[in-house]
């Protein structure tokens, strides 16, 4: 079973052309993906996150067995962000929230995130962050939230990318509520993380379709080629995410 824990459904973002939900699901299925978490991309740079959360909801309504959504809000919207989080989970059935601090122009470790994390704990959903990029979302900036809120589940969406993976590994060793997502993560980092943190806190994501339609083959092959047990690979490719999202 392959569950892709990191995909973006959008129509147009800069020079990137997105796609509609039908094409999106077709492409994932043709690459033997059994289900996916969808997130916005355009919504990170636009004021009205409601609109983009509604778009995600429409996709999950169309493919309820295949897609689940992580919504987004702008942390500086204050109480408006909190009420939108409640709507996303209670009315739209969303399973978590995604934040992209450098696109959304806020600092992951800033005070405006505290009520957001508290609300996620109350709603019992994880928070997934783009990480690995200074100055707003280095892995330790995101990990600071995990430190302040041990009851929250914090997913490092790229496990530090190329330059912060040792920080991401350090953070996961320090804070047990951190989940490492292998998505654009170097091979050497995956090996070290599985060895030191254990496969049960590692999950798979492709970032589809941002790194191209074929990114799924590439991302799956990175996991399949790791020198770990088949059980560990299966856990990373799907079972862990299923457990974390209570699917």
């Amino acid at each position: 079973m392959i569950l892709d824990g990191h995909t973006h459904l959008f129509s147009q973002f800069g020079f990137l052309r997105g796609m509609d939900a039908d094409e999106f699901v077709d492409k994932l299925k043709s690459r033997r993906v059994d289900g996916a978490v969808v997130m916005t991309l355009e919504g990170f740079t636009k004021d009205d996150s409601r609109l983009y959360n509604d778009q995600l909801h429409a996709a999950t309504e169309r493919y309820p067995e295949y897609l689940c959504a992580f919504g987004t809000v702008h942390p500086r919207d204050g109480s408006g962000a909190i009420s939108e989080m409640r709507r996303c989970v209670k009315e739209l059935g969303m399973k978590g929230f995604k934040f992209h601090p450098w696109l959304q122009a806020f600092c992951a470790s800033g005070r405006e995130m505290f009520p957001i994390v508290q609300e996620a704990v109350a709603l019992d959903v994880p928070l997934l962050f783009h990480d690995g990029t200074p100055p707003y979302c280095t892995s330790l900036q995101v990990a600071y939230l995990a430190r302040c809120f041990p009851e929250a589940t914090i997913i490092l969406g790229h496990s530090g990318l190329r330059d912060y993976w040792r920080e991401a590994l350090y953070a996961a060793m320090e804070y047990e509520n951190i989940i490492l997502q292998f998505c654009g993560t170097p091979d050497i980092a995956m090996r070290e993380m599985i060895e030191q943190v254990g496969p049960e806190r590692c999950i798979f994501g492709s970032d589809f379709p941002f790194p191209g339609d074929s990114c799924i083959e590439l991302a799956v092959s990175q996991i399949r080629n790791l020198d770990v047990s088949d059980a560990a690979k299966d856990a990373i490719l799907g079972e862990n995410l299923k457990r974390i999202l209570k699917l």
Partner: protein, 244 residues
């Protein structure tokens, strides 16, 4: 077709570890005929000579399979320039800079002085890019514009945190080549559109990434056979002077 890995590491780094036996095995199992190697980690930041000696030894043992680049920290000044000359006279073929680890901007005087030596020696210069604050594409672009006769290889095409400027830098400075390790497939495709396949070099950055992952990316790239040959080997052979 002979495949050349235009950039990977060799040696006993604190984090990056790889001996020449393992390297040659990996090359054999992926059909890679030749690899360009240099040292990293502590050898990049501090112990240049020790790291370079290991590279010199490896390439002299496997001259038909390996080509070495010298690692010199620009902060060593004249001592570093002397080390670069020693390495080139001992058979290494280029200079490899990792300003992320060495702590200097591409435009700093200490870097420019070292590049002048590389220009005098007529060798190509590999530069790690993609890491703020010290290793971003536009810094490399300014350096390359000031040394038009030196060929610069933009390591990892600015990935992960400078990719948006990689194409701009290489388009502006015609003596910049883009090395593909870690780069997402659409970014490589975009670079090909901007500067042509003849200035793109396949590299693995192994053991950071791997031949497996990086070769799969090139296979998945929508590219004609000639372009693939250029990226996988012909460009590196021409630029670095590798006979395969």
């Amino acid at each position: 077709m002979s495949i050349i890995d235009a950039h990977c590491y060799l040696g006993d780094g604190v984090y990056m570890k790889r001996n020449s036996g393992d390297l040659l095995d990996e090359m054999d199992s992926h059909g890679v005929s030749h690899a360009v190697v240099n040292s990293t980690d502590q050898y990049s930041a501090v112990y240049n000579r020790e790291g370079n000696d290991e590279i010199i030894r490896a390439v002299s043992e496997h001259p038909d399979r390996l080509t070495g680049f010298a690692v010199v920290n620009p902060w060593y000044g004249q001592k570093g320039a002397d080390e670069l000359r020693r390495c080139i006279e001992s058979g290494l073929r280029g200079l490899s800079l990792d300003t992320r680890r060495q702590g200097c901007f591409f435009t700093d005087t200490i870097v420019r002085r070292l590049i002048q030596h590389a220009a005098d020696l007529e060798i190509p210069v590999y530069c790690h890019t993609g890491t703020p604050i010290y290793a971003l594409p536009l810094g490399l672009m300014e350096l390359a514009l000031d040394f038009p006769k030196v060929s610069f290889i933009m390591g990892s095409g600015g990935w992960a945190d400078g990719w948006y400027d990689a194409g701009t830098a290489a388009k502006t400075a015609p003596n910049i080549f883009i090395e593909t390790s870690y780069c997402a497939i659409p970014l490589i495709a975009n670079a090909i559109r901007l500067i042509g396949a003849e200035r793109i070099l396949f590299g693995s950055d192994a053991p950071g990434s791997s031949l497996e992952t990086e070769l799969l990316k090139i296979r998945l790239l929508d590219l004609d056979a000639r372009g693939r040959e250029m990226i996988l080997g012909d460009n590196a052979a021409r630029l670095i002077g590798i006979r395969t």
